[in-house]
Symmetry: C2
Subunit: 146 residues, 2 copies
Amino acid sequence: MKTDTEQTLAQKLIRQVNGRVTPIRLGVLELLLNTQTALSHQELEQAAAQTGLVADRVSLYRALDWLVEQGIAHRISSHDRAWRYKAQAELTSPHAHFQCKHCSQVFCLEDLQPALLFKLPPGYQLDEIELKLQGTCPACASLNAI
Amino acid sequence: MKTDTEQTLAQKLIRQVNGRVTPIRLGVLELLLNTQTALSHQELEQAAAQTGLVADRVSLYRALDWLVEQGIAHRISSHDRAWRYKAQAELTSPHAHFQCKHCSQVFCLEDLQPALLFKLPPGYQLDEIELKLQGTCPACASLNAI
DNA sequence: CTAAAGCTGCAATTAAGTTGCATTTTATTT
DNA sequence: AAATAAAATGCAACTTAATTGCAGCTTTAG
Ligand SMILES: [Mn+2]
Ligand SMILES: [Mn+2]
Ligand SMILES: [Zn+2]
Ligand SMILES: [Zn+2]
């Protein structure tokens, strides 16, 4: 499930920001790198259990927070009030996310960068852009012909 | 604080969708119409108390849910895990929102409609677009010269 | 005026996320 | 190969937004 290359990548990313390499951080980061969709805390906890990673809930929260602080992972707010997390091999520019209203999964659409064509009203200082699309994902669409 | 015109507007909006006109719905809708920023549940509760509207927390939640279901109000997910609600006199098209990282207020930017220039990957069916910008609002910027 | 449908209040519950503190682990220095 | 300081972890308790079930009360149609 996890290749040598990927393991090395997680370590490299953590060392790049002068972070301590711990089993929890490695395990979490590998999952965020290898999973195609963004993971909620709960989904991460289940995935972690399957890979044999033992960690307290709180430690997972703290590992996720740390990865986001360091810019290694990013998080997307989802319509079920839970944050979802994803990491990429390369530093990613701001991009859109798609959340399926049926299965709640969140997909990174990295090719869909919000064009900064718009102009903000005067006085507003911009830090972050979050373009979130909602609808039906390909899997759900084909499943039940919604 | 609330004019005759506005009161009539709230009633009109509720009747347009064949909803029962109750003091709570009226009070909540008037607040959502008259407040410039989108209100969190907590902010609404405080505002309601000031206007003399008596209502249980749960009833406020239910009134908000109902207004959103009916398309009279819309809600925006905010970075503090609380939904924020706003209503407009006219039916509004999808637009961007700006949340200040300092005061957490959410502003509707109705003139900033996300151009639907982008193309979604094949298979994804689009229902809603949420473009949320984050940064510093004019008030916070001038206050502390951040 | 009456009745049914639909709201509301209250109490209990859910679920994501946070906090404080004692203990363990990591990475660095000797 | 220790010793050490700094940082990460586990555990228990806590916070807070939002939800649920149900009895009682309002609204509206007839
Ligand atoms: Mn992403
Ligand atoms: Mn808005
Ligand atoms: Zn789906
Ligand atoms: Zn502000």
